[in-house]
Subunit: 288 residues, 2 copies
């Protein structure tokens, strides 16, 4: 999907918040802001996806802040936090393993806000999972997805954020144990971008024991088809089934031309919600 | 006060919302957005007040939309709506006329959101007034202001929005009846800008029967000292006491060099609230 003008203040604000958290020197900050605005004034938003927009905004921020991975600490924290409760999460899955429940479980990983603040308690994590049980999927292609999983020999699963990846790992492990899937590939970003998973972050969680990792080669919070590493692209089209987690993957891949691809995420902003004809914060399991 | 980078996405978003409500043609909208972003990338936010910023953003919007006063209908609606209940508001004032209550009454005019949606009921208006009674003034220079009103021979009262002006009119009428004030001047914007009052809007409410009207000469949602009409500026410095309503007047006049000037408003955004060291939505009666 393409951005709209409503994505512009949002991208700007998000980027600025990162810069703010790094306590930049005022003069440098001002020059950086001017460069971001100049880029925004020149780019054609109707031809740009939100992750492409974010990619450039963050490139500018990283250039001025000279911090390669401002979310490093936060990402490690969330991965570790979720790994410490992975046995409890496994137990939960044992008792909630019909396909609808599995989907809601893995989407709840996308809901928990893995922001920069280190205050996520185990109680809050389980509360999120329990609350999601009462929610309907606003777009519900779960039975189509279940059928696709049953028939898949290979799955390309594209992850989204740190922390959330532990939910993905447990879900993938469950799929491997329960269905006749020979091969699972796991997609990550090509380098640090916001709190999205890179190869390094993925290795921390041990997901490589279950799946072969492929990275996009690009530091963008999504999968930009035009700049994609060949092996990632090959797997994206070769796999029997693609499962893409999170809004950034939907934003960048919603117009891809292939069958058997499903998006699992929470529609976190009004632009995406409007595009899908659902309310903000709706839970989505959508086939394209 | 000067803008911060946080004002930039806010100004952009507000401006775009107006353009959106006018159903602009897509190509024109895009060019307009690019021009706004180009201006934002070039202006020095640390040397610009929020109303100066809004002035330019709205100039660009008006140029592209070719609508001189997009809020005209809405402004008329709110003025009329409030005028139809002015007798009830007067009755309310009769029973709530200690100085603190008077102030809260007139600030409640600044709270009601006179936006573009025509759905403000009388019930909601009185609910706002009643709710404000329970609220404290977060910055409370009311006793200083009462003293200043008692000693004033002339007052320059600078208004803010349509609809709200009916509260200002009743407050001014009360001041005239209760204190020994010979002359009241009433300040308005120099031309249509958002839902702020112009001379034309002020005349609709009959406030000219109580006060002499002066306009800034500038289409900005505040009072820009550098571009001010001489007679407005003279009165601003000659009057014994100045009362300025609304956040836009505070943003543009908070660093003015004169005694006996009070700002009455609700701190509607985090930038202003932070500057004042109060929470967002705090009620303010502040002397400078």
């Amino acid at each position: 999907m393409r951005t709209t003008y409503e994505c512009i203040p949002c991208a700007f604000k998000q980027g600025i918040n990162v810069a703010k958290s790094l306590n930049m020197e005022e003069k440098k900050l001002k020059t950086m802001i001017q460069e971001i605005l100049k880029y925004l004034s020149k780019m054609d938003y109707a031809e740009t996806t939100p992750p492409e927009l974010a990619k450039v905004v963050y490139e500018i921020i990283y250039k001025y802040t000279e911090v390669e991975d401002p979310f490093k600490q936060s990402k490690e924290y969330y991965n570790k936090k979720l790994l410490t409760i992975q046995d409890d999460l496994k137990k939960y899955l044992k008792n909630h393993n019909d396909f609808d429940e599995l989907l809601k479980f893995v989407i709840s990983g996308n809901i928990i806000d893995f922001g920069a603040i280190h205050d996520l308690s185990e109680e809050e994590i389980f509360k999120t999972i329990e609350n999601i049980e009462d929610n309907m999927l606003s777009i519900d292609h779960s039975s189509l997805m279940e059928k696709a999983v049953k028939n898949a020999n290979s799955i390309f699963y594209i992850g989204d954020n740190c922390g959330e990846i532990v939910f993905d790992k447990l879900f993938i492990s469950y799929l491997k144990d329960s269905y006749k899937i020979n091969k699972i590939y796991f997609g990550v970003r090509g380098g640090p971008i916001i709190n999205d998973i890179t190869r390094e972050d993925a290795l921390e969680t041990g997901i490589n024991e279950l799946a072969e990792i492929y990275d996009t080669g690009v530091k963008a919070p999504g999968v930009l088809l035009d700049n994609l590493k060949k092996d990632f692209k090959d797997k994206l089209f070769e796999a029997d089934l693609v499962i893409a987690k999170g809004q950034g993957n939907f934003e960048s891949l919603s117009s891809i031309k292939r069958d058997n691809m499903f998006f699992l995420f929470m529609a976190k902003c009004s632009v995406v919600a409007d595009k899908l004809g659902v309310k903000e914060k709706s839970l989505i399991c959508k086939k394209i």
